[in-house]
């Protein structure tokens, strides 16, 4: 159990660098990219725990909802920040269902 947990933590930390590379090629421009990468790493960690996945979905939709609010008031920098964060979490969470999809072809319960 602890071994599994440690492995998950290790992979999530490693993934931060992968996400950071995908965000900005491991460069820091305004700090956003590093914060996002850490959140994505944390998302990956949580997404490996089946019982919390649906909360990730909710969280990503919540962020996308905020994106709309900021967009409507022309706060594009914040809209983009929240939107990209929400969408990134959505991508990671959805991808975590791949094993189940490979097995059944669909997901019975999120």
């Amino acid at each position: 159990m602890i071994k599994k947990l440690l492995l998950r933590i290790f992979l999530s930390v490693l993934s931060i660098f992968v996400f950071w590379y995908l965000e900005s090629g491991l460069m820091i421009k305004n700090g956003d990219e590093l914060i996002k990468s850490i959140i994505f790493g944390a998302t990956l960690f949580i997404a490996t725990l089946a019982q919390y996945r649906k909360y990730l979905f909710l969280f990503s939709f919540f962020l996308l909802g905020f994106m709309i609010t900021f967009y409507l008031f022309w706060q594009m920098t914040w809209a983009d920040r929240l939107g990209s964060l929400g969408f990134g979490i959505l991508v990671i969470t959805t991808s975590s269902y791949i094993l189940r999809l490979l097995k059944n072809g669909f997901v019975e319960k999120l």
Binding site: F19, L72, L101
Partner: protein, 1018 residues
């Protein structure tokens, strides 16, 4: 079954009906639409069909290879039939739009029923409507007016259905139908990137067939085999246009874009494709920044509408994951959104990495356009799944009628966002539609030329003045026109020289040609007209010349009216036709041995023309000069008298050469006050903000590297002075930094557009001076010397300092110098000339102060030769690279050229009996005829230079393929060094790819058809 079919048929009629209403709304004023980078695609399909049958476009003179136009053949063929049947341009365009709109709706309706078996018909109709009316279709498809996109969006639903049927069932019939649909929609691949877009989608829909859920190996193998077989047949049936396209286009693309430009475009486009926009499928540039559809779209309520559909799409997203056979769509959606939003967050760096390292990915520099075209299809699928779920939910909660009512209102609200589509305000700006009404004078002039040619069979070209060297033009027509220059469509009997090609050599030559009409000089103008095989000149007084690269047509008219060899032949509207008297016309193919050699091939400027009278300007290509037997020697040996050899600089640049004392002063200051470094580098540091703002990511990186390397070198120096020991690791890092700076092609970098060559040069002169001083002080440290030598070499290669640069330079104070690099192809004595501007008073005293340094040797000035040139002296130049540096330049001459000239005194050619006995133009890509050659000569072919043009000269005994040179800085010349009577064949060889490819495609189609028929009978 029949009943079902009937019902289905009548249901799908909804979409043609809507298409009909839209078409009537769009064309209610009775005008066609045109302009932009599309021009007038449906104005004259017969003419386009005639032109695009061949990949060499003779009609857009002086000719250009346009292999990608082959894909428009099926469309133009079909529409040319309608044109023959009496369809006007308006009827053609309306029919075209009607067909596209109908296919979109019907295709999506059928696709939705195909992939979602239980879907009620009304939801499939809602889906079809949403596919027709969504922000992407309104802005990116119709408003952008890109015809290739019209075809793709109309064909995609059908292509997906037929492909899935083939992959799932393995029946070749469906593959055949898929290929035929692809043929009908071939125009879509006019945007090359759409080939990848289509196959990306096909891969994305095929993969889940294998993995969701994972299938047995046997089934997986089958599906992979079908995918590959399908791809193979697609390639085989399209090889007739793929082969010439990929043979010619990479060369063309590299002439038009660099990696750095591509990345800058990508970054800027990515800012408009951030998720808040791309999720709604909106392009803010047209909708918000330019407000093409009015300021109403800035209203918060209107901006809320698209989020309605986005929310429903996300409901569909969750429903689809939980539904068997639909679970692939959310994944396809995520991938397509991630790819369409370009380099914006999240995970956008992949694009920048790809484009930095793979030039060909440049075709995707606008991913929202190139991959985003898949967004409407994927969004529609999820939208309908979500809508159906909501409908069912509402039915259970209330009742079916209320549910249907609410769903219908929602769909109508979403559709209402695209109201400009219904109102016919989709093309152009809301206040001004892009209507086009071509003045009747164009037809009159075309008919007059046609009738005139009945009595005069000699082929020639039509020159259109004013001559733009861009690809677009603006006319003062009734409704205006601003877009692709389309004279080749209006004037159908002869090729038109009417615009540039974005190919520098040709555009520069056309500029020289056009500028000759600026001044009344009969001989020069005639020379150009003859060299370009011009027969008629059409003066367009309707061109809106202000704010463009052309000058007032009235001014040109004055010149034209005075030329002795021109006759004003016809007038109609704002058009005036001049005809060149028959005695002065020169044929497209002719022989000449009256030549001047001009180097290098890239030296297209006005000067070679100014310096010659009637001689043919011949330019050997690089490989001919570099080969063991220099072509110039071959020409000399064949007793062709070359009158002159003109060598223009292969590159030139201006920079401030700092004096040693100035450099040492700066170094001392910086070492004493290290905090001054930022002040000294402030022009670069401050530029970073601008670079970031403009998306110049590569230039910004380069700028940062230059700043960092400068700081590093100063730090190394400080530690060296204080500790008397060199930190080799730091010096290694410095060299690595310098290597990185110069490996990114600094001399061509866009950074120089922002901070100027001079600033970069000054910084690196300081580096060099510092390294030289240190290496002289710490003589035991070879590292320092190595670094100095390395940097010195790189600065010379990148045109940042002259070869003559050294720390002990001869200048007592910093001064501006101009450096010319020459490549001399043959040893000999050359005169050196400086050109003079046309209309400036040159101060003789100031000219006398000019100094020149030839390969480190200072020379004295010569005398003023005439009003055009100053002879600076003469010198012996050996074969190879040479550098001439001009100092103490007279400012008025800063843009002038220096060139070398070798005069041949015995330059009179004997009269020869060389003749073209017969010449037949079989097609735009094939000329045949007979030659009588008594003495080596050149055959000049006045079409744009292209290596694809091959001259084959033969008789019963022998067959020769002669060397090809650049003639008159744009055309083809062939060095015929065999004597005798010959037949000749001049052919554009790449056209053969089309012919061979057509056979392969035909055989592939036929074999599939035969197989399907035989299988059907069994």
């Amino acid at each position: 079954m029949q009943k079902i079919l009937k019902t289905q048929f009548f249901t799908t009629l909804i979409f043609p009906f809507i298409a009909l209403i839209l078409t009537f709304s769009w064309f209610r004023e009775g005008f066609i639409y045109g302009g932009g980078d599309v021009g007038l695609q449906t104005y004259n399909p017969q003419r386009i069909f005639e032109i695009s049958k061949y990949i060499w476009w003779e009609a857009t003179a002086p000719g250009v290879a346009v292999p990608q136009a082959l894909i428009a053949l099926p469309f133009n063929f079909a529409f040319s039939i309608l044109q023959s049947a009496g369809f006007t341009p308006l009827m053609l365009q309306a029919t075209f739009f009607f067909l596209i709109l109908s296919s979109m709706g019907v295709g999506m309706y059928i696709l939705l029923q195909f992939i979602y078996k239980d879907l009620p018909k009304k939801y499939a109709i809602f889906g079809g409507l949403f596919y027709l009316f969504n922000p992407y279709m309104m802005i990116q498809v119709w408003h952008r007016f890109v015809h290739s996109t019209f075809f793709l969006v109309a064909a995609l639903p059908f292509l997906v259905i037929f492909w899935l049927k083939w992959v799932r069932g393995g029946k070749l019939f469906w593959l055949l139908i898929f290929l035929i649909t692809n043929l009908l929609a071939l125009y879509a691949f006019g945007t090359i990137a759409y080939i990848a877009t289509l196959w990306l989608l096909l891969a994305l829909i095929s993969l889940p067939e294998v993995i969701f859920p994972s299938q047995q190996f046997r089934i997986t193998k089958k599906i992979i085999f079908r995918f590959l077989l399908g791809f193979l047949f697609w390639v085989l049936t399209n090889v007739w246009w793929l082969l010439p396209l990929f043979n010619i286009s990479p060369g063309l693309l590299s002439q038009q874009h660099t990696n750095e430009e591509t990345i800058t475009s990508l970054i800027n486009i990515s800012r408009q494709a951030i998720l808040p926009y791309s999720l709604q499928m909106i392009n803010p540039f047209y909708l918000f920044y330019q407000q093409d559809f009015g300021a109403g779209y800035l209203n918060i309520v209107i901006r809320l509408i698209p989020w309605l559909f986005v929310s429903i799409v996300f409901v569909g997203f969750i429903r689809a994951i939980k539904t068997k056979d639909l679970s692939q769509w959310p994944f396809i959606y995520l991938i397509v959104v991630l790819l369409s939003k370009a380099a914006s967050s999240p995970f956008g760096f992949v694009y920048i990495f790809g484009m930095e390292h793979f030039f060909s990915l440049g075709v995707f520099r606008n991913p929202f356009e190139k991959i985003g075209v898949l967004l409407p299809l994927i969004n529609t699928v999820l939208f309908v799944i979500g809508l159906y779920f909501l409908g069912e939910f509402l039915s259970k909660k209330w009742n079916k009628k209320i549910s249907l009512f609410l769903i219908s209102v929602t769909v109508l609200t979403i559709i209402s966002f695209c109201w400009p589509m219904f109102a016919g305000k989709i093309f152009g700006k809301i206040e001004k539609a892009e209507y086009v009404k071509v003045p009747p004078a164009y037809l009159e002039v075309d008919n007059w030329i046609k009738s005139d040619l009945k009595n005069d069979k000699e082929i020639g070209k039509i020159l259109h003045l004013p001559l733009t060297r861009g690809e677009a033009i603006t006319y003062n027509w009734g409704y205006g026109y601003s877009g692709l220059e389309s004279s080749a469509l209006f004037f159908t009997s002869l090729p038109s020289i009417s615009h540039g090609f974005n190919i520098q050599r040709i555009d520069d030559t056309l500029t020289a040609f056009y500028l000759s009409f600026n001044k009344l000089d009969d001989d020069k103008i005639l020379r150009f007209l003859q060299d370009f095989n011009v027969k008629y000149i059409v003066l367009h007084k309707d061109v809106k010349w202000q704010d463009s690269d052309v000058f007032d047509p009235a001014q040109t008219e004055e010149v034209l009216n005075k030329l002795r060899f021109l006759k004003l032949s016809f007038k109609a509207g704002d058009l005036v036709i001049y005809k060149i008297s028959a005695d002065y016309q020169r044929p497209r193919l002719y022989l000449s041995d009256d030549i001047k050699l001009v180097y290098p091939p890239s030296s297209a400027s006005l000067w070679p023309w100014k310096l010659s009278e009637k001689e043919i300007l011949l330019t050997p290509q690089d490989e001919q000069v570099l080969s063991n037997v220099n072509i110039q020697n071959k020409i000399s040996r064949s007793q062709i008298a070359t009158k002159e050899v003109l060598i223009f600089p292969k590159s030139q640049f201006i920079y401030n050469e700092s004096s040693s004392s100035a450099l040492l002063n700066v170094i001392n200051n910086l070492l004493q006050n290290p905090q001054m470094v930022n002040t000294w580098l402030s022009p670069l540091i401050e530029t970073n903000n601008i670079l970031r703002q403009n998306g110049e990511i590569e230039a910004e990186n380069l700028n940062n590297r230059i700043i960092a390397s400068t700081k590093k070198l100063l730090k190394i120096t400080q530690s060296l002075i204080s500790s008397k020991e060199i930190n080799k690791e730091e010096l290694k890092n410095y060299k690595k930094g310098i290597y990185e700076i110069f490996s990114s092609n600094l001399s061509q970098s866009r950074l120089l557009l922002y901070i100027g060559r001079n600033s970069v040069s000054t910084i690196f002169q300081l580096h060099l001076a510092l390294l030289n001083v240190l290496s002289q002080t710490f003589t035991a440290e070879n590292y320092l010397k190595e670094n100095a030598v390395f940097l010195h070499q790189k600065l010379i290669e990148n045109n940042l300092i002259s070869k003559n640069w050294n720390t002990q330079n001869q200048f007592s104070q910093t001064q501006e110098v101009k450096v010319f690099n020459f490549e001399v192809v043959d040893d000999g004595s050359y005169e050196i000339f400086l050109t003079l501007p046309d209309e400036k008073n040159i101060d003789q005293e100031k000219i006398k102060k000019i100094k020149i340094i030839i390969d480190s040797k200072e020379n004295k000035l010569g005398i003023l030769r005439d009003d055009q040139l100053i002879q600076l002296g003469s010198d012996y130049f050996s074969k190879g690279d040479h550098q001439i540096i001009v100092t103490e330049y007279y400012k008025d001459l800063i843009n002038e050229d220096i060139f070398l000239r070798k005069n041949n005194p015995n330059n009179l050619s004997d009269e020869t009996g060389n003749k073209i006995l017969e010449m037949n133009r079989i097609s735009p890509v094939l000329y045949t005829g007979k030659l009588h050659i008594t003495k080596p000569t050149f055959l000049i072919f006045s079409e744009a230079y292209n290596k694809g043009w091959q001259l084959n000269v033969f008789n019963k005994d022998k067959n020769f393929i002669f060397e090809q040179l650049l003639a008159n800085l744009y055309a083809n010349a062939y060095f015929i060094h065999q004597t005798g009577d010959f037949d000749f064949k001049l052919e554009f060889i790449p056209q053969r790819f089309v012919n061979y490819g057509s056979w392969i495609a035909l055989i592939s189609y036929l074999s599939l058809i035969i197989y399907v028929i035989r299988r059907g009978k069994k």
